[in-house]
Assembly symmetry: C2
Homo-oligomer: 416 residues x 2
């Protein structure tokens, strides 16, 4: 079987998400954005598909936006959805055409080589991951097996934690520690088996006016409010971004130990591994990382070897697709180091279902009091990451990545 | 799909192989031995198969045995072929029945847990590998894909080296350095892209009377004879077993450096990693290992972390099947450490075809001047590891592990 084409279909969608300068999402007024479907087509008629941003950026609004001020104006266009995606696919297409779609290792190696100088391909890092995921979908469709069973299944349902958006200044949004506490109570009722906070970023640094600089004290207040709201038993985590210095991070970590949080994530810039070696040595609470540091699996190996993390962190799009993520997971398994996956979506879910060693939780979200994450996006007939009342997300047993696509919606909303 | 049965079919075969006390093979008088076929059967009628000892112990004789004396009398019965195999399968069967055959990770984990105290299962280590290989064969048959494409293919042909048996005292066999030189010339003509020597073991330590204790000087003579016979360009390797002390191993290694050998393998007992740390530090020639040390992937991680090997070594049956071998390979890939696979066979071949980072060579053999390795065993219609004139072994594109079985032969030669 040979690859004969690689297509990009972009289609419109309503969104209630805006993005700040650093890439964090917040609720916004309703507007039109777009999502892209990548299709790898073979001479035998088999097709592998991947949706950029999978399904995790598609909550529906459940608030009256007229009552709100200061909403984000920037529309969130995930990496690989805009014109850069078409550019990039045009440039990698010649590498793919004629290749055996099952030879993912050979294809990865060819694409990886282009990375040295970028090969004039924008967002090549993401493209490698997108291509790999689409190839896994194709293999699953051909084999009539869900991807997690191609990988060697371990479990069909995974406990989910609710991953709350970064703080904002929306009234009854995420403006105060009390807001976090209230919302956490709601998430517990929904069934989530854990809750993660993203806290506040710098003041006035984007269209989203966020009140108050990031401050350890304020983070601690939010964490305390959440702990008090959900009781002693609920697993809690924090992603404190990367703004703090060592001593602030240590101070935050010490308080989180008292509040019995299960990990601390990215409190400092990840480019300086030395900071994390220091922090992981000082703290009892597990330090998890790296998430945003470049260098894929090799960077994760260095963090493990240097004791810069207690739990490893990796995501499908962080390390180059499902194939490379599984390699990272296998390495962590041999080290005996847990690895918690970054961001939700079908590819993440299938990978988690094939992990023998934790990875304990599926990160579901991002969530916000103004948004309803449990609404199925209109281009799917069934959700990618359905979560039951007990907080378990179920991996689909449909072939490939399990997308149940509403083709009418896509046809009616095509951009090109 | 559920597993409903696990069958063992043992069948007779002619063999010209005997085994010494340490498990090394030598040519013997013709006798009857047996091979076993393990079958995992599902409710949907799909079957996964694995042949113990795969195909690598099945050369044909091409000598007049009446002219020979001192032939090995012990018939080689590979691990998992005798009664212990039926015992073991009987004991693991309840773990497998009812399981989804695609959930290899979950099945491995269950079997692995039995290992702690052995679970009263003989040869459990091998059984885990055998079950895993049969499950991969089943997945490939179901998906209508060769296993290496399920794993993510990288290449369809692999350079092979000829792996020569341990020395003996058969006239015109492997009794002298000159014998090795002569035979190496023959292997070069056959097309092999490299040659590996196994040299002599202790005197009178088995039914096979081997003349002369193992000695560094004699090993060097054999290596020199081979280098002179095949010229400067042929890649050469040695597996010197594990009899030497540090200083003997160093002496051997230094001479091999002069003879431009590409690696030195297991010159000392592998249970003492400290010896290997010392040797790898001292020598320029790459030290490869571990092969026989217990502890699967984790032991290999320790060898890498401690600099006890320059090239990692692992085999399908050494680390627990294709699944675990791929994990080891993935770890080595992230470390940037080459990994050369131990022993031939269909499972090895499919794994190698899916490795992105070397693993450069397929180990073909074991070979001996008295034996013809290129004869297809009678229970196959086509060989598992066909090698072309240029010394490339081709991985089968048939579904699963690619066995092309002669069912008539098996039916006619069943033991039970």
């Amino acid at each position: 079987m040979k690859i004969v084409d690689v297509n990009v279909t972009r289609f419109k969608k309503k969104t209630w998400l805006g993005v700040d300068k650093d890439g964090h999402m917040h609720p916004s007024k309703e507007k039109i954005s777009q999502t892209a479907l990548i299709e790898i087509v073979t001479d035998d008629g088999f097709v592998g598909r991947y949706f950029t941003a999978d399904n995790y950026l598609t909550p529906s609004a459940r608030y009256d936006e007229n009552t709100l001020t200061n909403l984000c104006s920037g529309s969130y266009i995930p990496a690989g959805t805009g014109d850069s995606l078409r550019d990039a696919i045009r440039k990698v297409r010649p590498v793919l055409i004629g290749e055996d779609p099952f030879c993912r290792e050979r294809i990865y190696r060819k694409l990886f080589r282009m990375q040295r100088l970028g090969g004039s391909v924008p967002i090549l890092d993401e493209i490698i991951g997108i291509i790999d995921c689409a190839l896994w979908d194709l293999a699953g469709r051909y084999a009539n097996l869900p991807v997690y069973k191609l990988l060697g299944g371990h479990r069909a349902r995974i406990p989910a934690y609710g991953s709350i958006m970064a703080g904002d200044n929306y009234q009854s949004g995420l403006a105060t520690p009390e807001d976090y506490g209230e919302y956490a109570k709601h998430l517990k009722e929904r069934g989530y088996q854990g809750i993660k906070l993203h806290t506040w970023m710098e003041e006035n640094w984007s269209d989203c006016v966020i009140s108050g600089k990031p401050a350890v004290e304020r983070d601690i207040e939010a964490c305390r409010a959440v702990r008090e709201a959900v009781g002693e038993e609920m697993p809690l985590f924090i992603d404190a971004f990367h703004d703090y210095n060592r001593f602030e991070a240590l101070k935050l970590g010490r308080e989180l130990e008292k509040l019995r949080f299960e990990w601390i994530e990215e409190p400092m810039d990840e480019y300086n591994m030395e900071d994390y070696k220091w922090l992981a040595r000082e703290l009892d609470i597990p330090v998890i990382g790296p998430e945003t540091a470049k260098g894929k699996s090799q960077t994760r190996l260095q963090w493990i070897l240097n004791g810069a993390c207690d739990i490893c962190r990796a995501g499908v799009m962080d390390v180059g697709g499902i194939t490379q993520l599984m390699k990272t997971i296998h390495m962590c398994e041999i080290f005996g180091i847990p690895v918690e996956l970054h961001s939700p979506g079908a590819a993440t879910l299938h990978t988690m279902a094939a992990m023998m060693i934790p990875g304990r939780y599926y990160e579901r979200g991002l969530l916000h009091p103004f948004l309803d994450y449990d609404v199925t996006p209109p281009w799917f007939n069934t959700p990618v990451d359905y979560m039951d009342e007990d907080g378990f997300v179920h991996v689909s047993d449909r072939a490939g990545l399990g997308y149940d696509i509403n083709w009418d919606y896509i046809k009616d909303n095509r951009c090109d």
